[in-house]
């Protein structure tokens, strides 16, 4: 059974419904990311799990128990805030010790645990500093230590790296992943950064307008998106309506015959990334051929990008930089059969 389950959750403020009939389940020891653009409800969902707000309807089940109405201070969940939310009037030591003091542990144990955790996040010797005397990356690690030291049953991250510069972001996400694998905690991670989220997670839930469009491993999402939204999200830019004519054989709107590696019942949509379409001279005899005319040619360094107008819509194609096609020229596109993904 899943460690955490959200069932039919509805959440929002007043008239503004953000999540409707929302479901999510997280297994023990899993690192799950909620990915989506701002306003998709990912942070609302996370804050509700933490107990910062209550759902309007639905249930939160944790470890078999109903947690829907459990007050936040009784949940034993860790939370790493986007703003870090360190207590500015307390030293690093007292910040990290806060949760243990609230649990009324004895002084010696607290001291031992805090120093150990500061060592884990590589902040030895910073005990008596105040948060404002530290850099963004260091504060981030204090926040992490403070959340980890209480040995939370579940650790939540709300865009924890968004205030760091690019280099530090990559370093910290490796660090977070390392800690998670070392300590084995269950984590839910909210971000709008696709790369970050694919790098760090066991499973990714991509959210759109308050629902999870797809929840899978990063590679599954990357290679086999289930909806057009997800496909666009992970870099598919070309979509064609297809009608099934036989096993793995389809017909495009303009009558072109498309053969694919996968199969799909009835009519569907085929999608393909710009890099998986090749460009050939007009009339070339290539598999899955579609005729078109070059609209725009853009130089992108390593590659050229062509926008090609065809009978079945505009295609975005990425070509080798020495393969030059002038604007207005008629070309033949070839879609790699094993790279076409079929969706409803």
């Amino acid at each position: 059974m899943a460690l955490l389950e959200l069932k039919n959750i509805t959440a929002g403020y007043d008239q503004n419904i953000i999540l409707k009939d929302f479901d999510l389940s997280v297994e023990k020891g899993e690192f799950v990311s909620l990915l989506g653009s701002s306003g998709c409800g990912k942070t609302t969902c996370l804050r509700m799990i933490a107990g910062f707000s209550e759902p309007m309807a639905g249930q939160i089940i944790f470890d078999g128990k109903d947690y829907t109405k459990v007050p936040l201070h009784k949940r034993n969940f860790g939370f790493v805030f986007q703003s870090y939310a360190l207590f500015p009037h307390l030293t690093v030591f007292d910040n990290v010790a806060f949760g243990l003091k609230m649990r009324k542990m004895d002084k010696e144990t607290i001291r031992h645990e805090v120093l150990h955790m500061l060592k884990v996040v590589d902040l030895e010797g910073f005990e008596s500093r105040y948060p404002r005397e530290m850099s963004g990356g260091q504060r981030q690690r204090v926040a992490l230590a403070r959340a980890l030291v209480i040995k939370p049953d579940l650790l939540m991250f709300d865009e924890p790296l968004s205030n760091l510069d690019a280099k530090l972001r990559v370093k910290m996400r490796v660090e977070i992943r390392r800690l998670q694998q070392e300590l084995g905690f269950t984590a839910i991670y909210v971000t709008h950064d696709q790369e970050e989220c694919f790098a760090i997670s066991d499973k990714v839930a991509i959210m759109n307008k308050g629902v999870i469009e797809q929840m899978d491993t990063p590679s599954e999402i990357y290679n086999r998106p289930k909806t057009e939204f997800i496909a666009r999200f992970v870099g598919f830019e070309n979509f064609i309506d297809l009608e099934r004519t036989g096993g793995c054989e389809f017909k495009a709107n303009n009558g072109a015959r498309i053969v694919t590696a996968a199969d799909h019942e009835g009519s569907c949509k085929g999608c393909i990334r710009p890099g998986d379409v090749t460009v050939h001279a007009a009339g070339a005899q290539v598999p899955n051929a579609i005729q078109g005319r070059v609209l725009v040619s853009t130089f992108l360094g390593q590659r050229n990008q062509l926008n090609v107008q065809t009978d079945v819509g505009e295609f975005v194609v990425s070509t080798d930089q020495n393969q030059v096609f002038p604007v207005g020229e008629t070309v033949t596109l070839s879609l790699a059969a094993n790279k076409i993904i079929l969706i409803d």
Partner: protein, 276 residues
């Protein structure tokens, strides 16, 4: 570049600085001088005379006592009000307007209103007699009670405003973080909100305390002849007795006492929140 920039800044602060020097520091300095040169030569005799005077001792202690009491009452009334307005109120602007509303009327008018309310036939006394709590109207006016009431009403807005200013800057995430780490609502208040708002409490207290120490109209109108405070005493020395030396001695004592107590407030706050 920095030199011309500095010159511009100097020019900009010049008028304000001159104003303060001419109309505040110079008179203050001459006031001090007067108090130390009662007969053209330096002497502390005025101070000894004053501190040996039982009437002054009483007045001095009354000023300090009433100011501290009013500060305490303002803090007790103002803190929950400010906390509510800053963190829970849905109509913050309106609540703030209500809180500062008393500042729109003059202390004279307000003192007169209190005379009406607290007088022998005022609504408070009418209520006390009507409800049977007292057989006859009580003396609520022209004593320390009415003065404290006047002070509190006069300075409560200052306390509320300085507290709201500080509380607004405490991010909600901090209280959520405290709760998330296992603190109850009360716990996160005492461990997070209170220490972080202490600077507002101190600023408010200094404003209220100095205000009470220096207020003149309110103690003059709401106090009695046997409840003088330092400010009314200065007036008495200067205007009724024409003793400018003694008046300036009292004034200097007032300034020093106010400064000492304000700095005590500050050092207490630094103990509680060293980062404030």
């Amino acid at each position: 570049m920095s030199r011309t920039k500095n010159a511009v800044w100097l020019l900009l602060i010049l008028p304000g600085t001159l104003f303060v020097i001419l109309f505040m520091l110079v008179p203050l300095f001459s006031l001090c001088l007067t108090s130390f040169f009662p007969d053209q030569s330096f002497s502390l005799s005025s101070y000894f005379r004053l501190f040996g005077d039982a009437y002054f001792q009483q007045t001095f202690m009354r000023s300090i006592r009433l100011s501290l009491l009013s500060t305490l009452v303002c803090a007790l009334l103002g803190y929950p009000t400010a906390y509510y307005i800053s963190k829970f109120s849905r109509h913050k602007g309106m609540m703030m307007a209500f809180a500062v509303f008393p500042m729109f009327t003059s202390p004279v008018v307000r003192s007169f209103s209190w005379m009406v309310i607290l007088g022998k036939r005022g609504i408070v006394n009418n209520f006390l007699v009507w409800s049977g709590l007292f057989a006859k109207p009580q003396d609520l006016l022209y004593n320390e009670f009415s003065m404290t009431v006047g002070f509190v009403q006069l300075f409560l807005p200052q306390m509320i405003l300085s507290l709201i200013g500080v509380m607004d800057n405490i991010p909600d995430d901090l209280t959520l973080a405290a709760g998330n780490l296992g603190a109850t609502k009360l716990g996160s208040f005492f461990h997070v909100v209170f220490p972080l708002s202490i600077s507002g409490l101190v600023t408010g207290s200094v404003l209220v305390f100095t205000g009470c120490m220096t207020a003149y109209t309110t103690p003059q109108l709401l106090g009695g002849t046997d409840t003088r405070v330092l400010s009314t005493m200065v007036y008495q020395y200067a205007m009724s007795l024409r003793d400018w030396t003694q008046a300036s001695v009292v004034a200097v004592v007032m300034i020093v006492a106010t400064m000492v107590i304000s700095s005590v407030f500050n050092s207490v706050s630094r103990k509680i929140n060293p980062m404030a």
